[in-house]
Symmetry: C2
Subunit: 248 residues, 2 copies
DNA sequence: GTGCCTGAGTTGGCTGTACAACTTGGTCCA
DNA sequence: TGGACCAAGTTGTACAGCCAACTCAGGCAC
């Protein structure tokens, strides 16, 4: 049923997810009771509940005391990796990702950058500017700031490397948590030139701060998308909320 | 320590949250071991783990096998209610929310609307158009479609009602799950007139489909914000992901 | 000094049990 | 007919225990 060596509750969650996605449990229908699922999978009720918590976080099922769970439908959310990495995201939707590094420069970080990376003001950082494409069409400008330790690695990557995240992970850099802020921002001269749009065009902007499991920031990135190329989706519920709205 | 009558693990979570927010556990520092927390609060380790799962979902702490949890910082996420309701959100950030209903019309829903609300094509729905303000300044146009049952209630609300969500909840309408899609969209003539911006101005658009605990859609809304008035933030981690990126 | 190894400490995963809180459908009664 | 009530079913909360997997610092060998 599931991959061997993976946690039992993840196997159960994966099986239930597939059952919902393929329509075995129709949208709007009810899931079997936890006890029945436990018996069916040969695990304890606690393990089933762990599996169901995963599906609930993905917005695939509801849960309420006193009545069986309701199937909401197939998940529209992606894995953490697909959200973090433009490359992985593009592949997951069947597009051909591309990237061209426009500039990599080691510089003393400005106050804002150092604050985001948790460094002392004036610490040296690496600024990386990249143009990202889908099927060779430019869609996004990526401005990432790395702390020195990681930037030094990025500097060695080939100029036409499709992904930076993947080789960094292979070098042992861990990405585990990210904060995203989404708003819009007018294209500056550089954006306009690289994306081929008029200066001042309103771009969809995603700013992202990523940390490793010890809470140390590993990147601070600002991505600007051409209008109409991407949208962001979020699921939230009374049970779990990861989204918020802020004054712009 | 906590509110009486609320679940024990929520009380513990609330206490830990406050401890982190007020700096008793400094950002970047480590949390006590689960066992120690359990002893301190006089609960089992399982209950402590439940409390910590809440904080982890909020992005306040990390967790990794083998080592104590790391404090990431105060949460920036809001409650489900503050995200769902413009009124509650505005109040939570200390702004004065306002609303003016421009139009309420019972109509046969178009195919897209009916699909979003899970109704048969051509079912009657209510279209509601509202102008939302912060401190009397227009910031957002809200176009909401309700199924007939709920729209009939909304039709009775006063034209200058600040909130629609709150009275609906008092009438027993439950909002528990929502899917949000965020992108940008040019202002049409109506948007421009109401918001006082040139037609074609790029607006930050949030589309939202909200369901009740039985999975039945209760509203399908499209909100368009003036540039620079709001931003959306999301936290996600390898543990829990609620956000995704889509082709526009 | 350098690197390996071990062991204590810590979280992840799973089981089993018990009771509380709530929903739902049916029954009974006025 | 309508409403109150009840009982079965279901999920939420909490406890206790056990082992596995992993981190990390300190000791030890080279």
């Amino acid at each position: 049923m599931g991959v061997q060596g993976e946690a039992r509750y993840r196997q159960v969650a994966a099986d239930l997810r597939e059952a919902i996605t393929t329509g075995r449990y129709g949208s709007g229908g009810r899931l079997p009771a936890e006890g029945d699922l436990a018996q069916h999978y040969g695990v304890s009720r606690g393990t089933v509940r762990q599996a169901l918590a995963v599906l609930r976080a993905d917005g695939m099922v509801t849960s309420r005391r006193g009545t069986r769970r309701v199937v909401l439908g197939a998940a529209r959310t992606q894995s953490f990796a697909e959200l973090l990495s433009f490359t992985r995201w593009a592949r997951s939707i069947g597009e051909e990702p591309g990237g061209r590094t426009v500039a990599v420069e080691p510089v003393p970080g400005d106050p804002g950058e150092c604050a985001q990376l948790g460094l002392a003001p004036g610490s040296s950082v690496y600024r990386v500017l990249r143009l990202r494409t889908l099927s060779r069409v430019p869609v996004m400008i990526e401005r990432t700031v790395y702390p020195e330790r990681i930037g030094a690695l990025v500097q060695g990557f080939p100029i036409d490397a499709v992904s930076h995240t993947e080789p960094l992970e292979e070098l042992g850099v861990l990405f585990t948590d990210a904060d995203h802020t989404i708003d819009q921002w007018p294209a500056d001269a550089e954006d306009a030139r690289l994306l081929g749009c008029p200066p001042g065009t309103s771009l969809l902007r995603e700013r992202r701060r990523t940390t490793d499991p010890t809470g140390v920031p590993v990147e601070w990135s600002q991505d600007r998308y051409l209008p109409g190329t991407v949208a962001f989706t979020v699921h939230n519920s009374v049970a779990t909320t990861a989204l918020s709205r802020r004054r712009g």
